[in-house]
């Protein structure tokens, strides 16, 4: 009788992860082929990508560092406004708009992170919510600059010049979707690298046992701050893409209810998985699109989804019953 070899188990999980990876990328690349057959439209898939990126960025903090931010809409919205304002007032350039949006949201998050990095749990969450609403009020009341309640209009994403070639993404549809997908792929790869690095493993250690990590001499505050900052930069990038997608930025991109949507997307997909938030975003965006076309009482349904997920489905779609990895 041979005894089961424990070493075989991790390999099986690698297999599962790779299967998920292949399936997700196959589905993403072929979206323009199959989505119309299901009655969807490419802009919907683009929205899934953008929200998925934001939720994955949030998950870097929520699922992989164990720190709860309920104010990530702030950095998403700042990214959107940064891109929109750049296109409207400064230069007609898509890459520069993306850069400006990412920097605006990322730097704001980095600075605010310094203030709250010692807080934990719900107190940390409360600070992030409150700080996020500051930007909402600012965008709301600075009418002449941001367009106020009606949002920032009158800007258009510009074609991208690549040497002799020009990538025309102004029309939307499939070309713009693939442009988004390319950016998403780069961002996802970068986030994956961060999580695989010694720094990312340290974040897991902090999530699992903060006190032990501290005893081991890990500068916990600095790691959480860096994680918060990185997460904000990627969220802001998603926000900038969102402004490009809609040619529009409105105060609701800064509102705390969007933060709640990001968190629920993450939980629906599975908090402790890398691709979970993307899957959650897909489910949430489709449901929201469907429900708001069916009934005026969509708020109740969205609210019930939140409550249902919490009570009966806390692990999420990609989450496993397995205990979190030790060490």
């Amino acid at each position: 009788m041979s005894i089961a070899i424990p070493a075989a188990e991790p390999r099986r999980f690698v297999g599962r992860d790779q299967l998920v990876l292949v399936v997700i990328w196959l589905l993403l690349i072929t979206v323009p082929l199959w989505l119309p057959l299901l009655g969807g439209y490419t802009a919907l898939a683009a929205r899934v990508l953008v929200f998925g990126l934001a939720a994955m960025a949030l998950n870097l903090l929520l699922g992989f560092t164990g720190v709860l931010s309920f104010g990530h809409a702030a950095y998403f919205g700042l990214g959107a406004y940064g891109a929109g304002l750049t296109l409207r007032y400064l230069v007609h350039s898509t890459p520069l708009a993306m850069l400006a949006g990412t920097l605006l949201g990322g730097v704001a998050g980095t600075l605010f992170g310094l203030l709250i990095v010692r807080r934990r749990g719900v107190y940390f969450a409360m600070c992030t919510i409150a700080f996020g609403q500051l930007w909402y009020y600012l965008a709301y009341s600075w009418n002449s600059f941001t367009g106020g309640f009606d949002g920032l209009r009158d800007f258009q994403r510009a074609p991208i010049g690549l040497g002799p070639l020009t990538l025309d993404i102004t029309t939307g549809g499939a070309p713009f979707y693939f442009f988004l997908l390319a950016i998403f792929a780069v961002a996802a790869a970068l986030m994956g690298l961060v999580l695989r690095s010694p720094f990312g493993r340290t974040l897991l250690a902090i999530r699992e046992n903060e006190r032990r990590a501290r005893f081991l001499g890990i500068p916990v505050e600095r790691h959480i701050w860096l994680s918060f900052s990185i997460s904000c930069f990627f969220t802001a990038l998603a926000g900038a893409l969102y402004a490009l997608l809609n040619n529009f930025a409105d105060p609701m991109t800064l509102h705390y209810s969007l933060s709640g949507y990001f968190v629920v997307m993450t939980v629906i997909g599975g908090m402790r998985t890398f691709w979970g938030p993307l899957v959650g975003a897909a489910v949430f965006v489709m449901l929201q699109d469907y429900i708001s076309s069916m009934t005026v009482n969509w708020m109740s349904f969205i609210g019930l989804i939140f409550m249902f997920v919490v009570l009966f489905f806390p692990r999420g779609l990609l989450g496993t019953k397995r205990k979190p990895a030790q060490g």
Partner: protein, 289 residues
């Protein structure tokens, strides 16, 4: 000018009083159960709407008494049936849950009472201004502030003097020890949640007379209440009290000088507090940190 400043300080005190009632209820639940009740603003709206529905039969004074109690009862029901299941889980779940609950409650209020604003009738006695020169100080405003003061004193006396109040305060510091000493912590938390909703319901009835009723009337008060708690210091109810008054008056005084910055100044105060004294004005070191 003097009258303008006086006008705004009065406004500030009244808004501050609402912040205080909201924030005290939120803080009670936060301190004992570690739950941020996103639906607190909706319990406020519920209190207001119940008073609106009950006042034709019970009269204004009856509604003022009964509807906060009913709000508390509904709060107890919600806690018993749902929220208590998620106390021992990661805080992300309780946040998501109350967030969803807020959506459902707001939509339900819109469904039952309609999306448009409704006026709340007041007894004639309260609707009069006190003097003609200070036209903005109506008896209702004096009455509101008095009720808030009585409620706050009542709450603090209850927490200091009664056995249950003592347990709530002790549970804020160390719930595990309180449970070990034989206190039924489940019931304590339920009662405490109801108490928080009672305060929300009371502020709802009062707010309805001032600003009228609409399904999201509590939303504008929710975020300032969070800030009142952060400024005052988590874990200290006295701190929350002063935090609420401080940001109310500060926002109102800013209105005199530069109206559109009145929201921003609240956030400015929060940032300053987080920077200079991260635990809050009267917060205890290590509380939830």
């Amino acid at each position: 000018m003097t009258q303008l400043i006086l006008f705004n300080v009065t406004n500030g005190l009244i808004i501050g009083a609402f912040y205080v009632l909201m924030a005290l209820g939120l803080a009670l639940i936060l301190n004992l159960s570690n739950v941020i009740n996103f639906a607190h603003g909706n319990f406020l709206a519920l209190g207001g709407y119940l008073a609106f529905t009950l006042s034709p039969t019970l009269g204004y004074w009856g509604a003022l008494l009964v509807s906060p109690l009913l709000t508390a009862a509904i709060g107890v029901l919600v806690e018993r049936l749902m929220i208590r299941r998620i106390y021992n889980r990661d805080p992300v779940y309780s946040l998501l849950f109350t967030f969803g609950l807020a959506f459902v409650m707001q939509d339900t209020a819109r469904y039952i009472w309609g999306p448009n604003g409704l006026p709340m009738g007041l007894p004639d006695v309260l609707a009069q201004p006190i003097t003609a020169s200070l036209f903005f100080i109506t008896w209702y405003r004096v009455f509101m502030v008095t009720v808030v003061i009585v409620a706050v004193i009542g709450l603090f006396t209850f927490l200091r003097r009664s056995r249950v109040g003592l347990r709530i305060r002790a549970g804020t510091l160390d719930l595990e020890t309180v449970a070990t000493l034989g206190v039924n912590v489940r019931n304590l938390r339920t009662f405490n949640f109801g108490l928080g909703c009672l305060l929300a319901g009371l502020s709802g009835v009062l707010a309805a007379g001032q600003i009228g009723l609409n399904p999201n009337m509590g939303d504008d008060l929710l975020l300032p209440s969070f800030i009142a708690i952060i400024v005052g210091g988590v874990g200290s109810l006295i701190g929350t009290l002063f935090g609420g008054l401080l940001i109310g008056v500060a926002a109102a005084l800013t209105t005199v000088v530069y109206p559109s910055a009145s929201e921003a100044v609240i956030y400015g105060i929060m940032m300053a507090v987080l920077l200079i004294r991260p635990r809050g004005l009267m917060g205890e070191e290590g509380m939830l940190s």
